[in-house]
């Protein structure tokens, strides 16, 4: 079993209302050094199959379903093979 973490972020050109609200809340709590907050998401995949094919398959999964490339960017990390 291989674990893949897909990190999804909003594209730079897209305004992130959640990030703005979180930044303001952090500043209200006294964290005045916070200049910008962008909120994304982490998608954890556990996969069967050969390690060689994983990169291409995960890219396809991202582009077909997991990511909306109009508003989101992504990168992924292929993790340690678990349970061996």
């Amino acid at each position: 079993m291989t674990k893949v973490n897909v990190y999804v972020t909003l594209r730079e050109s897209v305004v992130d209302p959640q990030g703005i609200a979180a930044k303001e809340a952090l500043q209200t709590l006294g964290f005045n050094e916070v200049q910008n907050v962008r909120i994304g998401k982490l998608i954890e995949l556990e996969l069967d199959g050969s390690a060689a094919a994983i990169e291409g398959r995960v890219t396809e999964m991202c582009e077909k379903l997991l990511i909306n490339q109009v508003i989101e960017d992504y990168r992924f990390e292929i993790g340690e093979v678990a349970g061996q």
Partner: protein, 228 residues
């Protein structure tokens, strides 16, 4: 002319759409579960609002795994009318039938109420019973009503008069250029966040949605006559 209302797990306003067409517009209509569909038997497809697949991942995203989507793409390519309202609009965007994407409302809140809209283009099969520049009021209810397109796409939409409805009096959810409804390039797929099927009877909040369905019916029927 026969209408299909597509129902996905989590669609919640399919019966509102059915009622509008069956009882008010008085046209032939059927509600269809998304896996049990033969769209070749229909002349127009309506995708209702709700929260298909629980809005998981992104609103409308998981619906594109349904087998009906490839049929819908063929149906749209054949030039027949497809209307998606609310979550139905989000599904059409995720399925690649309309440009853009949806973000959370800038207020970060679910909002509902009556939206005042301007009809930007009355020369479409969906809006011929309105006048260009006419102001209408339709209900809305959404948390992801913030429609986004990039600058290049926006310019294309404007050049080809594909922005059909815009919000008047504020654009509180933050949509690019106050867009409330857009058309595909061919002009036969319309997505809109306001909900015309909830405005077809004076007793429940107005009739400004009625001309939209009457436009589809009229233009669809004329097409049939001309093909006969």
């Amino acid at each position: 002319m026969k209408f299909a209302v597509l129902t996905f797990p989590g669609s919640s306003c399919d019966l509102d759409m059915f009622h509008a067409i069956n009882d008010i517009v008085k046209a032939d209509v059927e509600c269809l579960w998304h896996t049990e569909v033969d769209l070749s038997l229909f002349d127009a497809v309506l995708i209702p609002t709700g929260a298909a697949y629980g809005d998981y991942l992104r609103p409308g995203a998981l619906a594109k795994s349904s087998s009906v989507i490839s049929q819908l793409q063929e149906f749209a390519a054949s030039g027949k009318p497809v209307l998606g309202v609310g979550n139905g609009f989000q599904i059409l965007v995720e399925a690649g039938l309309l440009p853009g994407a949806f973000l959370m409302n800038t207020s970060l809140k679910f909002r509902s109420g009556q939206a005042k809209l301007s009809v930007q283009n009355a020369e479409t099969i969906f809006t011929s019973e309105y006048e260009t520049g006419q102001e209408i009021t339709l209900p809305f209810a959404h948390a992801y009503g913030n429609y986004y397109v990039d600058a290049e796409t926006l310019a294309q939409l404007k050049d080809n008069k594909r922005i059909v409805f815009t919000y008047v009096d504020g654009n509180e959810d933050g949509s690019t250029d106050a867009i409330a409804g857009v058309l595909n390039e061919q002009g036969n797929v319309l997505g809109m966040m306001p909900l015309p099927e909830r405005a077809v009877e004076a007793i429940i909040g107005g009739t400004d949605g009625l001309p939209l369905f009457q436009s589809i019916l009229k233009n669809g029927s004329e097409q049939h006559v001309s093909q006969a």
